[in-house]
Amino acid sequence: MQIRKNVLCAITAFSLLGLNAKAQKVEFTEYDLPNGLHVILHDDHHAPVVAVSVMYHVGSKNEVAGRTGFAHFFEHLLFEGSENIKRGQFFKIVSANGGTNNANTTQDRTFYYEVFPSNDLETGLWLESERMMHPVINEIGVKTQDEVVKEEKRQSFDNRPYGNLVNDISADLFTVHPYHNGVIGTMKDIDSAKLDEFKAFFKQYYAPNNAVLTIAGDIDVAKTKQLIEAYFGPVPRGADVVYHKAEEPPITKQIIDTAYDANIQIPLIAAAYRVPGRDTRDAKVMQMISNILSGGASSRLYKKMVDEKKDALQAVAFNVALEDYGMYIIGALPNGGAAPATLLSDIDEEVVKLQTDLISPEDYQKLQNQFENNFVNANARQLGIAEALANGYTFHHKNTNEINEELTQIRSVTREEIREAARKYLKTNQRLVLYYLPKKGKA
């Protein structure tokens, strides 16, 4: 089935309130191979494109002490080749077939993908099954990727304006949980890792029973199932992955910290709060709060600070929703010579308003429309759909259909719940205030 659109009657904005209207539904089929690999298929024949993706449920939070950056480094290592793919050929095969590919690692999962013209589906399956079945993990690969990852760290974090902001916040918000370390880690830890550790990491986390294969696009479902069986069926099942969430003690006293960045000239002030993980209802409520504070030019922070007081160049609020916890970050950049402390009191005023007054029915309706619009835009490309389906399965208790339920859940959140979440999670004594300042001397 293609994405189906339910016709919405021309109803007034208000009558939508509380209505479980669905703008569209993403259809899919799913099953497990005997080796535990979870397969999700979505067919859409609008364009001759297919996205092949594998999400492994492993990220930086699975790293052991003294091995920060390991999960991300490992992602790089898995482009080095396999028993049947020579070293350096992975990217070349993809582009020589007119495709594009990449991978990325977060605290919670590692996501590999190829997007091909649809006649190259089998090439995608071959590449991903080779990677899962028998990648080459050797000293040459480790040495090569070591250089590449060092450059990546420079380019994406150390040399990028505000590049280390989120890492600095994680370090302060988490004390016992591995989220403390961020994803990129330190190169020193990678340098001291032994080859056997990389091999063991593969065995422990890259088994089919810890992965989701999602294929979206111009496919014949029955034929695709057969190809999947042929390519992924022979991959052996691994031991079950055991993970224990480290419980953080609550923050009870405001933390104040300062960080310096040589790449910036304009300081940034941030307030950050620890919030519940992405599978919770409250994570969605926090997302709604982000829109109230900074979604669009009429949002409260933007309107007040950028347009009215003119003391900020930009003001943002967003929830970094992770599996075990979230990081709720509110930040602003001063305009002209405004002092960061002034911006913080502007932010605090708006948070207090959220904690005191219910948002107006008009603001509530605005939120609903913004979320519906975001939802429609998010599902415009096959790769985006593949990742959203895999996220549902991986992070919402095997509920692949989360993609279709999210909007209904957002609609069911009440104005009272929004005020309650602001009261519960945005307390000043539970937060970090980070002054992120230009580093003098070097620039």
């Binding site: 569209q24 067919d43 007119g98 089998e122 000239q265």
Partner: protein, 476 residues
Amino acid sequence: MKKYIILVAGALLMQYAQAQITIDRSKQPTPGPAPVLNIKDPVTYKLPNGITVLVVEDHRLPKVTASFVIDAGPITEGSKAGVVSLMGSMLNEGTKTMPKAAFDEAVDKLGAIVNLNSGGGYTSALTRYFKDAFTLMGQALKEPAFTQESFDKLKTQELTGLKGQARNAKAIAARVTDALVYGKTHPNGEFETEETVQKLTLQDVKDAYSKYVTPSRGYLTIIGDIKPAEAKFLATEVLGKWSGPVLTLPKLAEVPNPAKTEIDVIDLPSAVQSEINVVNLVHLKMNDPDYFPALLANYILGGDAQSRLFMDLREKHAFTYGAYSALGSGRFQSTFDANASVRTAKTDSAVTQFLFEINRIRTEKVTDEELTNAKALYNGSFARSLEDPARTASFASNILINNLPADFYKTYLQKVNAVTADDILRVAKKYMDADNTRVIIVGNSSQILDGLKKSGYPVNLYDKYASPVIAAAPQK
């Protein structure tokens, strides 16, 4: 867990269901037959005031987008540098009848996006709110408020932004490169500074608006969950009665490349890397027979991470995280630009490799493998790009703007696939200069100058605003 079983029927499927698939994983699979690409022409209308309306109907998602582009060509700002972009920002500051706060509220209430800029505007909304969002976009375009308060706010933001970029090597490199290559009085070479922005007035913004924001040479593209007739009706209702001056494309004198290759250095003592741009001017129209060979030539030289520059400067020599090239095309002059951010200590070696690779593609035929892979990549990415309905609309507007044959995109891959190694050699010689080019470097000159002087090319020094520095006393 809910399951959605997909029912697909057909004889073909039955055949697959019965056949056992055997694979040989020691070999790369052979791709199936190339998909048939279906490029649907948009429905096109012309409004009496000069606006061309292009509509792509696509009902997969319950949303509609509209973008309006005014084809004014390059604009020369002169002493008012910065005014056009500031004028564009001012279009987002409310209308004559709706102050900014009310306008923003109206847009956000719909959950929509409405953005304006000096060359037009964009809106995206759920189908049921599209008419309202599009009407707001039209109002902002036709009757901007232009208040002094908004002007003062945006001016301080612009000045803060410029200060924030003062030591940004990439920003300096972009500015100086264009200024040196095109000249500071050319529309592509002029740039704004704190001084020019400081002097701008609200009247300057109003003047720029009345000159350049007009239905003349306007292209309105409407894409999504909408019938063409309805789109035309809306376009007429919102923009049909709008009037403004008739635009004519400016005629620009051709700018020559330097008589001899030179190295131009801009000192930035705080830089930890050197920004290198090897740049020459080109004039390559899209309907020129050289266009397709030139696309492939640039891809093979520096189009992506499989290309020669990347392989040489990053993979072989580890001078940089990435090295690429780009070859512009269109109605006006543009540039061929090969560039990288390299380790300071390897600046002169990187320059040598850049010139080596450019010379090589000018003098030696590319290999069959390079040519085959480049074609495959273009075939694949062309097919992949069709996922985006905006792509077909851009085909249509490109055809109109660049005066291309109507079947330009329908025969696009045919023309890509017909390119030979000889064609590539010919166009590389023509568009990628080695003897008449500029090597422009922003970096720590105290550490790179000696090495660069040994290259044998003349080395000139410029400041951050592209003014020559007396060689005897390099400052800062």
